[in-house]
Amino acid sequence: MTSGSNGEAIRAEGVGKTYGPVVALRDINIRLAKGEVLGLIGDNGAGKSTLIKILTGFTQPDQGQIFVGGEEVKLRSVSHARELGIETVYQDLALVNQLPVYANMSLNKEAVHRPIPFLDKQEMRDRAKAHLGDMGVRIPSVDTEVGFLSGGQRQAVAIARAVYSDARVILLDEPLAAMGAKESAIIIDLIQELRQKGEVSIILIAHNFAQVVEMCDRVNLVQHGRITFDTLVSETSVKELTDLVSAEYRTRGIG
């Protein structure tokens, strides 16, 4: 790789991971440019989630190197990855249902008055409103308890919070799982908004190829622990992606 680090958010080279006799990742090479939205597709068990876990510091690879902003790093833990600006957003893990949206947005980054450190709720509300407004996230009110939001709205708030906390690389493991069309639209809109701004880079796992084409700049196909196909979305189609993923089963003699 001589392409230099300019405009590069995260890169993995020759990354492999074995669980006992099971080879989860063989030789992964992946590169995410700044501001880019990269879709990971592939069959269940192909290694997508393992790759996400490695990039987020949750799992350490057996071999290979990872570069963040062009510099090689060993991601020791989730919090270490987070310090480097890499954040995973989990659908149900991230938010506290009993707290209002603004408190969730500023959890662990609360605004307080001086000298008595009471919460500056107005400031927190204003920040949350401005920030969500910026990203085009629509919710009834920042005072609403998160538990009363729909799944799509919750996910959107969780992503917005990750961006708010200076995440530069956001990893989304099936952000649209178990969501209806209306809910999915909220997230798709948000990701397109972020893509336009180009301040954060996103890797997302998805199974619906139409949505992948809608959200992403580039698509990587993961098969048997390897990236077997890397293309710009503008140069592919839902049909081609579908054919690629199902090809290995067809050649085995079903079709």
Binding site: V78, S79, V96, Q98, L132, I139, S141, F148, L149
Partner: protein, 336 residues
């Protein structure tokens, strides 16, 4: 985009607005129950609204309200302290011995309350350190403290060490107990609703994993709540002891103190499952329990029957509360 600023629709007429308020503030329903009970007893018994009787009601609620304030913080953060009743009875003896050793009453009380805090620290350290549910740890701790109290007191009550201004402030003067209740309730309400400590308490109880992910210091927040609850229990024990005029080892009734605090918290809208609760609600919960106890006394209901009625009233209050909670969830969801 403009949606972020849109307020939920408000009802136009006054009753609609009252209804809105009731569903938005969980503590308002229990405050209404307290008001209704008060009105009922005032109607059926002219003695109810006299100053002397109101003082009795305030005395009934002092211990429960203060214990409940600490218990609410623990319950919201997903923990419980069953040793509070025993700490309540232990602390006055610490004050007694500190006083015997020559400390003036305020300092002796400080020593006692710090001693209570040590018990809270042990509860937290054992429960969080070994990952044992606080229910079990504090249950055991309650027995330990009870035995300890009986040992240091030889099982006999002690006279309150001093009189005068200090004693008057700390429980002896009329309504001084109520004054402390109000100070503590306002203080704890501010902590729960207007400080990081409060937000984190809700976060660790509502979504332990998510709170940890966001970097909320779960352990130290829970530890603070354990220590705070024990210190409040100790302080309540001291001002009640001073009011009554003797420090009693309280063998056998410590459990009741704890259960009343949990009852007040739950009647006031705090969930045993964590993540949700209010200090003001627990205050009104304690008030309801005190009004029931006092009202039944005035009506001449026998103590045996009274206990049954009280238990039934607690269950009924909780049923009504859970119905109100469901209505609240429906109205919130409907609004979105």
């Amino acid at each position: 985009m403009t949606d972020t600023a849109v307020a939920p629709p408000r009802s136009q007429n006054i009753w609609g607005r009252v209804g809105d308020f009731l569903v938005r503030r969980p503590e308002s329903t229990i405050a209404l129950v307290a008001l209704a009970l008060g009105a009922y007893f005032a109607l059926v018994n002219p003695a109810f609204l006299t100053t002397a009787n109101i003082r009795v009601i305030s005395q009934y609620m002092i211990a429960t309200a203060i214990l409940a304030a600490g218990q609410v913080m623990l319950l919201i953060s997903g923990e419980i302290d069953l040793s509070m009743g025993n700490v309540y009875f232990m602390t006055p003896f610490l004050v007694f011995f500190a006083s015997e050793a020559g400390l003036v009453l305020p300092l002796a009380i400080l020593v006692g309350v710090l001693g209570a805090g040590v018990v809270g620290y042990l509860n937290g350290a054992i429960s969080l350190g070994f990952g044992i549910p606080s229910f079990v740890v504090t249950l055991g701790m309650g027995f330990v403290i009870n035995g300890f109290t009986l040992n240091i007191s030889d099982g006999f009550p002690k006279r309150v060490p001093s009189t005068g201004v200090a004693a008057a402030i700390f429980g002896d003067a009329n309504f001084s107990g109520l004054m402390w209740v109000i100070i503590i309730v306002i203080g704890m309400h501010l902590i729960l609703n207007h400080s990081r400590w409060g937000v984190y308490t809700v976060a660790v109880g509502g979504n332990p994993l998510g709170a940890a992910e966001a970097g909320v210091p779960s352990r130290s927040i829970k530890m603070r709540n354990f220590i705070l609850a024990a210190m409040l229990a100790g302080f309540a024990g001291v001002i009640e002891g001073i009011r009554v005029g003797s420090f009693d080892p309280g063998a056998g009734v410590a459990g009741t103190k704890v259960f009343l605090s949990v009852a007040a918290a739950v009647i006031g809208g705090t969930l045993l499952s964590g993540g949700s609760g209010t200090i003001i609600g627990a205050f009104f919960g304690a008030l309801v329990l005190a009004i029931l106890q006092d009202g039944f006394n005035l009506q001449g209901v026998s103590a045996f029957t009274f206990t049954m009625v009280l238990g039934g009233a607690i269950i009924l209050a909780m049923i009504l509360n859970s119905l109100a909670n469901k209505a609240r969830v429906r109205s919130q969801s409907a609004r979105l």
